[in-house]
């Protein structure tokens, strides 16, 4: 078939553009609203709303446990959930490299459809651009997300308080490790944890749980987002190495490649910082959901500090600093 790859002319606005747009609309028909208009229009609610935007690029675009489409939807919904919002609408811009396969695009669109449908989200606006070879790496996706805030209290990285508990909703580093294993030729059953955590957060908030701070440990992993929280809240945080839920296979690939799971991206986890007395309730609710079944208290917020730091209490009982790293981890020999 001559038309199985996307050509520059598919973005020209002419007859061939229709072929591409037909594929997109056909695949996404259940989740797209305002089809054919220049802008998406909706009724806003009266309370607080949240807006976020993000761009997605990943190598490989298809990875164990997901693809760039699923990643784009989950990444956006998770960012909304982290301020206590329920995701409602999303915009979708595809920037596609000339020569990209229609079949691959279809797989990505199906993942987008499935994830939006499951999350009860509508795609309210969208755009497609085709650029010449080498201008982007296969496909980039940009989104904006709109959500309605249901939490009564403000959830913010500035609100961590001394004695709060630090909880993670599941195992650490799965996404980063799966990608690194794949890129370096390890055949594994390791899957990205890529998932929409908004339903977990919704369940917590609907049960009236009090949350001080919430973050999803994406780029830079757990250690990086907790470093941001200690800096914003001006408190020390102490994690306990013994309590960190890390799969054997994740720590295995990390050991083999010389990378640290605490700095590996998660794409379907949330870190919850809440008062100690909320801990039991939080764990009970999380453990009821598949996505939260490995949720665990991993540390606590310690004293206030003008030079706040993140500490790890190691297996031998020493406290060491978990610093903010400045660059992407690469495999090393030493």
């Amino acid at each position: 078939m001559g038309n199985n790859t996307i050509l520059l002319s598919h973005g020209s606005g002419g007859k061939q553009s229709k072929e591409l747009l037909d594929l997109i609309y056909r695949t996404l028909s259940h989740v797209v609203i305002n089809h054919g208009e220049d802008s998406g229009v909706f009724h806003a609610n009266e309370g607080k709303v949240a807006i976020t935007t993000d761009s997605y690029t990943i190598d490989p675009i298809f990875f164990p446990g997901g693809n760039i489409g699923k990643l784009a939807i989950c990444g956006t919904t998770n960012d909304l959930a982290m301020v206590g919002a329920i995701p409602k609408y999303i915009t979708l811009s595809l920037i596609i490299e000339e020569g990209f396969g229609f079949d691959d695009l279809k797989k990505i669109l199906i993942a987008i459809r499935d994830e939006t449908e499951k999350g009860n989200i509508s795609i309210i606006a969208g755009d497609t651009k085709i650029v010449s070879k080498g201008k982007v790496d296969k496909i980039f996706i940009n989104t904006a997300g709109y959500g309605e805030i249901i939490s009564k209290d403000t959830i913010s990285s500035q609100n961590a308080e001394s004695q709060d508990a630090v909880i993670i909703t599941g195992d650490i580093g799965d996404h980063g490790a799966a990608i690194m294993a794949y890129r370096n030729g390890f055949e594994s059953s390791l899957k990205s944890d890529c998932a929409n955590v908004a339903p977990l957060i919704k369940a917590l908030l609907e049960h009236g749980v009090k949350i001080h701070a919430l973050r999803d440990p994406t780029r830079g992993g757990l250690a990086s987002i907790l470093n941001e929280i200690v800096a914003s809240s001006k408190v020390n945080i102490v994690l306990e190495e013994e309590k960190l839920p890390i799969k054997e296979s994740v720590s295995g690939v990390c050991d083999a490649l010389g990378i640290d799971p605490l700095y590996m991206a998660c794409e379907g986890r949330a870190v919850i910082i809440c008062p100690q007395d909320q801990t039991d309730k939080v764990l009970e609710i999380l453990h009821n959901e598949t996505l939260g079944e490995n949720a665990q208290v991993i540390g606590r917020v310690a004293e206030k500090s003008d030079t706040p730091k993140l500490f790890l209490k190691t297996f031998i009982g020493a406290n060491r600093i978990l610093p903010l790293l400045s660059r992407e981890q690469t495999p090393r020999i030493c």
């Binding site: 294993a181 030729g185 390890f186 055949e187 594994s188 059953s189 390791l190 054997e248 296979s249 720590s251 295995g252 690939v253 050991d255 083999a256 010389g258 090393r332 020999i333 030493c334």
Partner: protein
């Protein structure tokens, strides 16, 4: 300077073997480990097995730890 972790040999053919590291499979080079057997553990550095892991010695090292530990608890 040299990162290496133990892998378990699953199958082998010539200079190459498939080995398991924490449930992951990876092709490794075994040309400098003589007569390596299936299920043996080897130390792997940069895709290359550089030594077989001696389980008896591993056990003895852990026993040494216990011994030194007991010497501590008996003043």
């Amino acid at each position: 300077m040299c990162l290496a972790v133990p892998y378990r040999i699953i199958s082998k053919e010539g200079n190459k073997a498939i080995a398991d590291v924490f449930g992951m499979k990876k092709e490794i080079d075994i040309r400098i480990i003589e007569d390596v057997e299936i299920d043996e553990y080897v130390l792997v550095h940069a895709g290359f097995a550089i030594q077989r892991v001696n389980q008896q010695d591993a056990k003895e090292t852990l026993e040494l730890l216990t011994e030194l530990c007991e010497a501590e608890s008996k003043p």
